[in-house]
């Protein structure tokens, strides 16, 4: 695509936004459109002419400035300035003048006392898109982005979206932590950061609880250590366990898909059913061993158990892959030099596993930090950062500043963990996959080690099976909590009853949230996969200034815990100029940018396997970036695209931490609804609903797998055979 074509399209788009589309958001929905071209649906040109938005004249002037040259067929570098000016004018005015009139006091001499300005609408959106297009066309005309306007436009719009939906909310939250009652208060900020609620060590000497930071760190460390060790035991058995290991490997692998398709807190429900005060195991212990009923499961032990149940399979996936990648010939080499089995393990296998162990530890650590559902359901008095942030926003004492400060602490811990890993891993890269076939036979495990692994792995396996069994059964019996195991459809009926009044009527209380969930997931999945793969292609294959920045921002949203995202989104998008709270759109946007990194990583990994000369060959034959992308790259990336699709669909169905802040009465989500049922004590309904979710996801995932062969769903995707040119 040439710069001129892009610039003309952008100009057209912006002009439409100026003359036709309603400039401001429609507060009461689409019905307001009838007021066009006046009232709340007025396009900008009407608002300019009646003088009520005189500060937006620069928008019209800039467009008029761009038009003559473009109509004459010349696209110059100056377009970049015009495009940037448009974006700045729209956003600048939007932030400077809000619902309460002037927001930026220092502009008072210039703007006086303007009237209230509601949020930006479709017209503004079109003008912004046009501005970005003009900016990109100008950059391409200047020779940036390989002089390809298509690439320039993609980079600029992706960059804009990432800035708006990843970076801006974070900055907004930071500033919220700095303010108190609308005034800058660094002292209050400092006080919040070092508050005893976060850092108190009271639990060491008294019965009071410790600060949430310590709780969070303790929980995350324990989860990470235990999950990694369990995963290691499973992986060792599966890869090095001999003939019987093969059997267990199959069982373990089947198990790894469970946490992926289970909403994170469902495990907690099962744990309550098993170990709660009236739980099955608790009752059994009381009847048989006179062990008194207690609430021990509510607190650190319960949350830890739930998190380990979710994380151990993922650790297994990672370590299993790493263990397989260790060439058996290395171990054979060690044994030919006279090392005994235990010595081989300690001196060769274990050191080579270290990076994978670190990765698994980090992943479990970070996931534990980010986990919100389990601490909410099982935490009891044991608060962690993610739940405390939630209650600072949603609790009796609504205190956004406190929530923001706690979110910053959580963010700092997460980044600290990533930084530590980067430091530690930086110099250690063991490439053991050489690409050459390796015919060695993996060394058997030392007998003692094997026994230990089996002794750990099998009971855990049975425990896991019991937990998921409870979920499977719980929704279909009268009262599993009290041991009444007679079959019933009652709970499922409460949620999913369908009646017939002149057509099907969805009477059940869960239908609304289920429909919304599927809708939101089905809309956000293709967007996530598409945007993720595009970004991956831009990052891996194009060379442009700011590439590193784009990559960083993409990965940033991976590192930010969901609760932090939720808090930052309500802070950023609750007021003009970008007002999205209460809509389904904010749910979609939240999912897209939360799950984006998975698509990007998958795409980059897949692209690394596709020889770059294929792109170049297409280019030398006259294929521009767009043609190359459509005809060469995307067809070859199909498996990665499908994986990203399936992953984002499933995550959108199971996520709770970020969206619990963003749902509204009109747009409720399944997970949030289930959490609500749990809090109301309707355990059986919650479990029944969870089962329905699991079935839907299982069908989706298996269906997609069937359609396109093997879609790898794990985060630790195994190495695929490289796609080489012509081979």
């Amino acid at each position: 695509m040439g710069a001129l074509t892009l610039a003309r399209a952008a100009l057209l788009c912006a002009t439409l936004g100026l003359f036709l589309a309603p400039w401001h958001g429609l507060q009461d929905g689409i019905s307001e459109v009838t007021a066009w071209p006046g009232g709340s649906a007025a396009p900008l040109v009407a608002l300019l002419l009646d003088g009520s938005r005189w500060w937006l004249w620069p928008v019209a002037l800039l467009l008029a400035l761009a038009a003559p040259a473009l109509l004459r067929g010349r696209a110059g570098a100056g377009l970049a300035w015009i495009g940037a000016g448009l974006v700045l004018a729209v956003f600048g005015a939007g932030y400077a003048i809000g619902l309460n009139g002037l927001q930026w006091g220092w502009l008072a001499p210039l703007l006086g006392a303007p009237p209230a300005q509601p949020s930006l609408g479709w017209g503004a959106f079109l003008v912004l898109a046009g501005g970005i297009g003009l900016f990109a066309a100008g950059q391409a005309a200047r020779g940036r982005f390989g002089a390809d306007a298509f690439v320039a436009f993609l980079v600029c719009s992706c960059g804009f979206l990432l800035l708006l939906f990843v970076f801006l909310p974070l900055v907004n939250m930071l500033s919220a932590a700095l303010y108190e009652d609308g005034r800058l208060a660094p002292a209050a900020f400092g006080a919040r950061l070092v508050a005893p609620e976060a850092w108190s060590l009271a639990c060491l000497s008294t019965h009071a609880g410790c600060g949430v930071v310590w709780n969070t760190l303790l929980l995350a460390t324990l989860t990470a250590v235990i999950s990694t060790l369990l995963g290691l035991a499973f992986a060792l058995l599966a890869v090095r366990g001999g003939a019987r290991g093969k059997v267990s490997a199959g069982a373990f692998r089947a198990m790894t898909i469970l946490p992926l398709i289970t909403p994170p807190f469902v495990v907690s429900l099962a744990l309550i059913v098993l170990f709660g005060r009236t739980g099955i195991v608790t009752g059994f212990m009381w009847d048989w061993f006179d062990i008194p009923r207690s609430r021990w499961i509510y607190g650190l032990p319960g949350v830890l158990l739930a998190q380990v149940l979710a994380q151990a399979p993922i650790a297994f996936l990672l370590l299993d892959g790493a263990l397989r990648a260790i060439s058996p010939s290395l171990e054979e080499a060690a044994s030919t030099m006279g090392a005994r089995r235990m010595r081989v393990f300690c001196s060769v296998t274990w050191p080579l596993l270290k990076p994978a162990l670190a990765a698994s530890f980090l992943l479990a650590f970070v996931e534990s930090l980010a986990d919100f559902g389990n601490p909410l359901v099982l935490g009891g008095d044991f608060d962690v950062l993610s739940t405390r942030i939630f209650f600072a926003i949603a609790g009796a004492r609504h205190d956004p500043g406190r929530a923001a400060a706690l979110a910053l602490l959580l963010l700092a811990i997460t980044f600290g963990a990533f930084a530590l890993q980067a430091l530690w891993l930086g110099k250690r890269r063991y490439t053991t996959v050489t690409g050459k076939g390796d015919s060695g036979i993996p060394a058997a495990l030392p007998a003692g080690l094997k026994l230990t692994c089996a002794a750990v792995a099998w009971p855990w396996m049975i425990f896991t099976a019991a937990v998921y069994g409870i979920i499977l059964v719980g929704g279909f019996v009268h009262d599993i909590g009290r041991g009444d195991l007679s079959f019933t459809w009652r709970h499922l009926g409460t949620g999913f009853e369908v009646g017939w009044f002149d057509g099907p009527a969805f009477i059940g209380s869960a239908w609304d949230s289920l429909f919304t969930t599927i809708q939101v997931a089905a809309i956000s999945a293709p967007l996530t996969a598409g945007l993720g793969i595009l970004l991956a292609w831009l990052i891996a294959r194009q060379n442009f200034p700011g590439r590193r920045g784009l990559e960083f921002m993409t990965m940033l949203s991976f590192a930010i815990p969901g609760t932090v995202v939720g808090v930052s989104y309500i802070m950023a998008f609750n007021v003009p100029p970008v007002e999205l709270t209460g809509t389904a759109l904010i749910l979609v946007i939240c999912f897209v940018f939360r799950n984006l990194p998975v698509g990007v990583r998958g795409g980059i990994a897949a692209l690394a396997q596709i020889d770059k000369s294929l792109d170049e060959a297409s280019a030398t034959m006259g294929g521009g970036a767009f043609q190359t992308l459509r005809r060469v790259v995307l067809p070859l990336l199909r498996p990665a695209i499908v994986t990203a699709l399936a992953y984002s669909f499933v995550t959108a169905m199971t996520a709770v931490s970020a969206v619990i802040f963003l749902v509204s009465a009109r747009h409720n989500l399944a997970t949030v609804y289930i959490v609500g049922r749990v809090e109301a004590g309707e355990m059986a309904l919650a479990i029944a609903y969870s089962t329905v979710l699991i079935v839907i996801m299982l069908v989706t995932v298996l269906g997609i797998e069937k359609l396109v062969g093997r879609a790898r769903l794990g985060r630790a995707s195994a190495a695929a055979p490289p796609i080489r040119a012509g081979a």
């Binding site: 390809d148 000369s613 170049e616 280019a619 030398t620 006259g622 081979a727």
Partner: protein, 347 residues
């Protein structure tokens, strides 16, 4: 139209602080096959990619057939390139691969496929159109890559080490095929290789590069017989580079021993002197020449190779197998036929 296919004017390509191509200027005549030759990292592939538009220069000016293409992307340059890996699209069959370029340039499918089929026929690939690249042999894949490039009727055809993935036997045949095709169609070709024999065999002109600059450019014979310096003498085939002295035109001293030789004009005085292994003929002791002793002897079928220890240093010698044979340890006298006094001592 000018007779210049490609014109480089002070072209520089820098990656960070490294100048992969450093103010290179040259002109390639239309209809010629020009080889870019040099050790790895010399900038030859970067130069080729600059012609293709896969890299854009950081300085200078590039013209193709008189048109300034300096800022144009690869898609806009009307060149075609055969990649080292062939870069055949694995998800398209042979016919789709060959008609790809026509389609993205706006041709209709039936006419594109007809043209592609004709080109496949020209290259002896008829009947393979429905195969996937993975179902072809290495040689066939290479020809598909060539067909894919030629079907676009490019102004300039670029080859990036096209033979490196073929086995030794096939290499000779394919390079002759390429040369024939280039002559028949009158193509302007730029050809990158690191194999000097390949370069000598196929080129009208050879351009030897070193450290991002052109070390020497000329016909194969010029480069072989008249290398500018020790680097080129050594790179274009083997050479014994010895320290000696030019006494007079046609008379030099090596290891203190005066010898009558054929040589290009060179000022008298100490000089580095290159001697090709085949320009040395060992003769029985006592004959006029540079006396020495055979340190190593090997029989290679068509030729014999010797290492001879002399007062001027160790000499590597290649003689026809039919010539007189010597055994290890034998004393000989080496007759030097033709020597090359080198201009640039530092290299």
């Amino acid at each position: 139209m000018s007779d210049v296919a490609i014109n480089f004017e002070g072209v520089t390509k820098a990656f960070g602080n490294v100048r992969a191509v450093d103010e290179v200027s040259f002109q390639l005549p239309r209809g010629a096959l020009v080889t870019l030759l040099g050790p790895s990292g010399c900038g030859k592939t970067t130069t080729l990619r600059l012609v293709a538009g896969l890299e854009l220069p950081t300085g200078g000016r590039i013209e193709i057939e008189g048109r300034d293409v300096t800022g144009l992307s690869a898609a806009e340059r009307r060149i075609a390139m055969v990649f080292q890996s062939y870069a055949l699209f694995p998800h398209m069959n042979v016919l789709e691969n060959v008609s790809y370029g026509l389609l993205v340039n706006g041709a209709r499918k039936p006419s594109a496929e007809a043209e592609a089929n004709a080109m496949l026929k020209t290259l002896g690939l008829e009947g393979l159109g429905q195969r996937l690249p993975s179902e072809l042999s290495g040689g066939q894949q290479q020809r598909v890559a060539v067909a894919r490039a030629l079907v676009l009727r490019p102004k300039v055809l670029l080859f990036d080490e096209p033979l490196s993935n073929l086995d030794a036997r096939l290499r000779r045949r394919v390079r002759e095929d390429i040369r024939d095709l280039q002559r028949k169609l009158g193509l302007s070709v730029v050809y990158v290789t690191h194999d000097q024999q390949e370069a000598l065999a196929v080129s009208d002109l050879v351009c030897v590069m070193r450290a991002g600059k052109i070390a020497q450019m000329g016909t194969p014979v010029e480069l072989y017989d008249d290398p500018a310096d020790a680097f080129i003498a050594d790179f274009m085939g083997e050479a014994n580079v010895l320290q000696g002295e030019v006494l007079a035109p046609g008379r030099i001293a090596l290891g203190g021993i005066p010898l009558d030789v054929t040589m290009r004009p060179h000022p008298s005085g100490p000089a580095q002197i290159a001697v090709r292994p085949e320009s040395i003929l060992p003769q029985p002791e006592g004959a006029p020449g540079l006396p020495g002793r055979i340190q190593r002897a090997a029989f290679l079928g068509q030729t014999r190779e010797y290492e001879v220890e002399t007062a001027a240093g160790m000499l590597f010698v290649v003689t026809p197998a039919a010539s007189l044979a010597f055994a290890m340890g034998e004393a000989v006298s080496c007759r030097l036929d033709r020597v090359i006094p080198l201009r640039d001592v530092k290299g």
